[in-house]
Symmetry: C2
Subunit: 317 residues, 2 copies
């Protein structure tokens, strides 16, 4: 049996191999991804984000138990594109994987590909496609922080859970940080700590102030204590409610189609870049042009303008 056949038979080792094949962009990965695309569209995508130490992993583990109870197969991607100074993600993963049997309905994958120059978002999306094609009902992306890369990753999800802790500050800070625009559900974790009531109430009233009517999803704020599995079921219910809500109003489909459009543009851009780099490398006088710019005798915008006109006569015509 080929790896792809094993993959189609539900062999998780084949899934791991196919994910690595795609991640490493081995010859033929585009064709493979093309095939996988035609088999996907079933799995829902949940994003879980929040500051380091908010208990995201414990929260996700709690959700996993809920999904298992509902007989759902779940694939989890843990992404840590953030500073190497933070470290420590991998050990955590190994610890948590012990909580679930390897032959069960849960699959974990870590993505800690630092320095993948803009490639992490694409890589994460490709892994989501592979997991979907494999037959998972649910895929969960867990990521630290909401820097640009994390925002792009989270953007691919249908439902985004933003996890805060009582120490995260107040609603004003959350608003300034743009969390109101990212979150579909807020989880205030470690809600047994002092002041947790305040941030919950605070967030709720800030959210009520936002313009809304009967067609607007009202972002719920759930106080949780993930380590004691407290309110995890409520969080789980709210996620399902949100998915049902966006499926009913058409936003699910619109958002997914927007993601496909972005994917196509990204593929086109990458191809353009590759060809332009080759072109420039083969152009004999390009080194002199660069030197002229370096010496202040030419201007990169003017040079780029000329190059663009030269290489892409058909574009824009």
């Amino acid at each position: 049996m080929t790896v792809l056949e094993k993959f189609q038979n539900g062999d998780k080792r084949a899934l791991s191999k196919i994910i690595s094949f795609i991640e490493n962009r081995q010859d033929g990965y585009r064709e493979l991804l093309g095939k996988l695309y035609s088999k996907c569209g079933h799995a829902i995508r949940i994003g879980v984000t929040g500051p380091p130490g908010a208990g995201k992993s414990t929260l996700v583990n709690g959700l996993l138990h809920q999904f298992l109870k509902a007989n759902k197969k779940v694939g989890v991607i843990a992404v840590d594109p953030s500073s190497p100074f933070t470290g420590g993600a991998l050990l955590g993963d190994r610890v948590r994987m012990n909580e679930f049997p390897l032959d069960g309905d849960i699959y974990f994958r870590s993505m800690a590909t630092r320095g993948a120059s803009g490639g992490l978002t694409a890589a994460t999306n490709n892994v989501l496609v592979a997991m979907d094609a494999f037959g998972f009902d649910v895929t969960i992306v867990e990521t630290v922080g909401v820097g640009q890369v994390e925002l792009d990753i989270i953007d691919a999800c249908d439902t985004v859970v933003v996890t805060l802790v009582p120490e995260s500050g107040d609603a004003v800070q959350a608003m300034k940080a743009g969390l109101m625009e990212i979150a579909d559900v807020f989880a205030v974790n470690k809600a047994d700590r002092p002041n947790s009531d305040r941030i919950v109430t605070d967030l709720r009233s800030a959210l009520e102030f936002k313009a809304h009517d009967e067609h607007t999803w009202m972002i719920p704020v759930i106080p949780t204590v993930a380590i004691e599995k407290k309110n995890i079921e409520e969080l789980f219910e709210k996620i399902l409610e949100h998915i049902a809500f966006i499926k009913a109003n058409g936003n699910f489909e619109t958002h997914r189609q927007l993601q496909i459009e972005k994917k196509i543009i990204a593929i086109l851009k990458n191809r353009f870049e590759k060809e332009i780099v080759d072109k420039l490398a083969s152009q004999v006088d390009f080194a002199q042009t660069i030197e002229a710019i370096y010496k202040g005798n030419a201007d990169p915008y003017a040079v780029a303008g000329d190059l663009y006109n030269e290489y892409s006569k058909d574009i824009g015509s």
Copy 2:
């Protein structure tokens, strides 16, 4: 007098206006940048990075005093592209600015442009060009962490100072985090804390193990106590030594020219993206294509391939 004339006369308010103009990509900003490019090339670029709380701002302030003593004009860019969860950068900036007179030879600029989708690196580079053209002798970019965006920003610098603290771990962790490849100078700050000797010795011996000969820059490790201005002069000297070293062996020029090449490619890519997005928007059947992909009846890679062939017949020919 026009803003540009005031800028050329050394008016810092004109500099601020011009930076904002470029940051906001107002009409004509490309032409303006083109002009500024022809006036720049004088300022050296120093990058200072490290984990939150390592004392980077205090270290930079210490360096500023050294540069002032040497009669140098310095422009500082503080970049915080990292998670909004970390917060707090702006207040810190306002506090530190009070240390230097507004009419002196120091100029500060904060860049906290979250969500500028890939634009932060370009924006930072453009501000460096504006500062250089304004007549600064030295530009310093201070950034938290070394995620992908920070790496790209730091990449534009001639000399990179990586700031660690005794708690940052050991040389093995620094190596794993890729810090050995980024750093031209290590500063182990808060070196009055316990265990600081260990990380300093540890880093030094790890660096000696790296392959080197008389043409290799030996990365120095300087223990500092920025808050007491301890060893800041030594750090300052090492930075100047590194600049002199790369100017002598040609790496300064090679690296700068590589940055120009990257800039040109980035300009071309942006222009291509803009035109392709317009094209797709005007294509009547594109929405149907997207829907076909969404339903699993088409493959984004195949679709992108066809589009590419259609729109860019000249590219690659």
